[in-house]
């Protein structure tokens, strides 16, 4: 099975100059907790999560008008949409992330695979192995 068979393609993303207030509103309205930050050409430059806003913005009393690129985690864990799913799972375990960005040959964002997408596949051993190797930081107490 390839990543493109599992990945969600309707991925919302924002640009570097989007304010954290806008990003938070988007997360609320779209019921997501994870936003890729992209150049206009859809090249991913970073990731911002709902947790990042709580612990990097609220915890330090930053203004909600500041741009997201000050608070994002630069870079992203990516694989090619044409990679085998098992390679993506290995990478998620190795990099301790619960989501992986799928890109095309030109590096442009094409989709996202999350741990819950893998859990929906129904292969218990597979999903659990990934869940177990993804850190407590991500599915934390």
């Amino acid at each position: 099975m390839l990543c493109r068979d599992v990945m969600k393609v309707d991925v919302r993303f924002v640009t570097a100059q989007t304010t954290v207030a806008q990003a938070a509103a988007l997360m609320r309205d779209e019921q997501i907790g994870f936003l890729p930050i992209c150049h206009p050409a859809r090249n991913v430059i970073g990731i911002l999560t709902d947790r990042d806003i709580a612990i990097r913005v609220v915890a330090d009393s930053h203004s909600s008008n500041e741009p997201v690129d000050r608070f994002m985690s630069p870079g992203a864990v990516t694989c090619l949409s044409d990679d085998d799913l098992s390679a993506a799972q290995d990478l998620m375990g190795e990099m301790q992330v619960s989501r992986i960005i799928c890109v095309g040959e030109d590096g442009q964002l094409e989709g996202v695979i999350s741990l819950s997408d893998i859990a929906q596949l129904g292969d218990d051993a597979d999903a659990t192995a990934t869940l177990r190797s993804v850190t407590v930081r991500e599915a934390r107490a």
């Binding site: 994870f34 612990i55 619960s98 819950s116 177990r132 407590v136 934390r140 107490a141």
Partner: protein, 141 residues
Amino acid sequence: MMCQDLMKSDVKCISPLTPLEEAAVRMRDDGIGFLPVCDDAGRAIGTITDRDITIRAFASGESGSQPVEPFMTRSVVACRRTDDLAYAVDLMSQEKVSRILCVNEEGVLEGVISLSDIAQLEDGALASYTLRNVSDREVHA
């Protein structure tokens, strides 16, 4: 296996009057994303997550100096420490939460069990079943 065999008992709770900003600092410093909210007697009256801070407070322009109480989740999903773990897992699936509180007869918080604790068990089917049933909201792309 009983809940007390798996629960983490070094759980810190916060007061409903704790400012959002202080809760966020606690989450950052302790590497957690979830805090039980307890009254003066130690009874669990709610929970608040990093996502709640971002979505319910920050996204609506609320100040970080506001108390957590209006933004916490008031319905507490809880079991007793002597309950069978399978009961707790069913309850987590049913209520679509990735953590469950363990409380005593008076409702005083004694511990927390998270999905990741269950994932560490040898029973992969149990963990995967729980993961599949806990909503996308909790372990989401």
